[in-house]
Symmetry: none
Subunit: 214 residues, 4 copies
DNA sequence: TATGAATGAGGCTTCATTCAT
DNA sequence: CATGAATGAAGCCTCATTCAT
């Protein structure tokens, strides 16, 4: 991504440590030591510890939203049902590839830290808008049942973040960690069932099922 | 609770700040300032910041497990189905009364902090044992369907902590915060539906339904 | 000495700890814990940590000087040679019985701590005066050789404190610790040899020798 | 010595204060103030107050033992009598040049502080070995009388440290402080007399005397 | 006489950052 | 670009002491 090695080493180390010890619990010295880099470089590249945090959060959400947005663009030509499933798969794949960062971001979001709120609130608005677009289209077309939009989004978001926040439980249930190969396939089954059984109208679900069978 | 005012003032302030800014992000000075108390008292009463953390975690889990355990004791005379619902209501009530502490504890648990792990791991073992006792009894008696025990426990735990970790979303959906009056009644409906529809065998659910109707 | 148990327990604990860890390195809490006594008692009985130090130093020097003074009083009726030896034996005996305190005092004296200097300087003047009295009388009577008085006193003092400051070496040489039974007899031999061979005029030494033989 | 000014300023200030007020009685703020340096530098350069202590002790013993060792190496080509005298002169010269550090080290050694013991015990073993080598060679060659080795070493060590521990007395006797110019010459007379009269066999002493005369 | 609570000062250390090189 | 030195602020903790009981 960034062509500079020192810079990317810092980010990598930071993600790992933020994830393990939390933002406040990690010192820039820890990071610089883990990255095999001089401390001053952190201030040089990111204008301080907070800048490094912003970089992490920003880059996460940029990628996260891109994965969501590109499916919204296809709404005109694809069914909302299909769109939603593909968006979810995109996001899970992206999160699997960045599982440490993912875990850190979704956890830190639950802290009411002013700093974090300021950085990410606009992203959350966008996220909500994208999900809403897909779901409302589906409702209009009669594909999705008319549930309160907030409830649906919450359940969705919860399902998307859960495996990363509670990875230890995943292992117990499926003998799979979210960063491992088959995680997505296994988890998608669960989510698709939710979409088909809870979110979709009977007709849609059956049609989809047929397609899947054929 | 404890008859000493200074001591309980410290705990109250700590819970509030730990909740808002995280353990690592909170300084003892912050706490002492909020509690209107001399800093040294924190070391005096809790042997340091970490001792204060331990006090919070320990007292949470003691109460939490008590609420669970007392229903397990009744397993011999009450149906597992009834037991489970009452245990859940107990826990929700307790958590509602201590919603800040609850939120803090379940969040901090997701950090792999060695300190936290050491303190609470034995509590988690107990928790698991209690839930398992209820559920397995139910399965034996044919009241519950035979799902993987880990999966059931995870879903249960997730439902128990969710409202406190994502309180802002609750408001969106139900115009209710978890610390408000009717929260429990509203939320219990959702959980009971899950118990009846997903966890219970058809017969049990129907019987229960009848009772409820009558 | 002091009829109060709490008070004497404090002193005993203090002497032990001051000896092991030094005055500055010992906290009043350490002392109160070792004495099984409430911390506030130290301030109550001694008006603070420094007062406790003064008590230790004062009581040491009072006893130390008494042992020296009572032989000086006998100078009129006894030979200086005899006086000196008896004074030394007195002091060694007293120091042996209070070897921890002794070690602490002579060590702390080597620190230029203002506090200590203020407390003990007058005692040191007295001490010097007493030694001087004995030695000068001996010189006048022709029993002692006319060495510089300061030199003699230094050597004397050095011999009197050495076994307590370097107790570990004593064990190596004589298999004896200064607080053990036969220490004084063994050590007196060494000192008496120094008095007879270095300090005394030939005549005196020989006479003394005869007496000893007879 | 070390090319870094801040670092050496800290050491210099520390030695002075440790000497005056003892290790435990000196605060890092005192040191940093005296050295005109920011407090954090002490941790930066020495990893804390204890690290600074170790640095002082270690550097003292390294130099001290070097001065001793280089004479032991010459044992094959020089007489033990000569060796011993030269070793002593070396050590006294070194100690004179670092009289504050010397006084501090030999005093702090008398405290049974675990920290100090751990750092220096191996140095003391070496020191003993070196002295032993010289003296035993002398005994084998018939130059030194066969006294218990421990006794000789203790007396030696006592003579080597005494002027620095009791510098105030030195002034009284010789109008000389150990850090002043002629101290070594004056004091060496005393020590050489002890070597010739007490430690050496008659023959050796006489021969040495002759040489000295010639 | 003895105690536990409470305090303000000061202890040592770590923090994030800046700056000259 | 990268570094090591240096700093001031803030971190947590212990200190000796006081006070009401």
């Amino acid at each position: 991504m960034s062509r500079n090695k020192t810079r990317s080493d810092i980010i990598e180390a930071a993600v790992e440590l933020f994830n393990t010890k939390g933002y406040a619990g990690t010192s820039v010295r820890d990071i610089s030591k883990k990255a095999n880099v001089n401390v001053a470089n952190i201030s040089y590249y990111f204008k301080g510890k907070q800048g490094l945090l912003e970089e992490c959060l920003t880059s996460f959400f940029e990628m996260y939203l891109t994965n969501l947005e590109k499916e919204v663009f296809l709404l005109e030509t694809t069914s909302p049902h299909e769109c939603l499933k593909r968006a979810i798969r995109n996001i899970l794949t992206f999160q699997r590839e960045n599982h440490l960062l993912t875990r850190f971001v979704w956890r830190e979001v639950t802290i009411d830290s002013q700093i974090v709120r300021e950085i990410i609130s606009s992203y959350l608005v966008k996220e909500r808008y994208f999900f809403k677009s897909i779901i409302e289209k589906g409702v209009q077309e009669g594909a999705f049942v008319n549930l309160p939009i907030s409830l649906v989004i919450i359940q969705l978001k919860s399902m998307l973040s859960m495996p990363f926040l509670n990875s230890q439980y995943l292992r117990e249930v499926w003998q799979v960690f979210p960063h491992e190969k088959y995680f997505i396939d296994k988890y998608m089954v669960l989510i698709e069932r939710w979409i088909d059984e809870t979110l979709s109208t009977p007709t849609t679900a059956i049609n989809m099922d047929k397609k899947g069978v054929i």
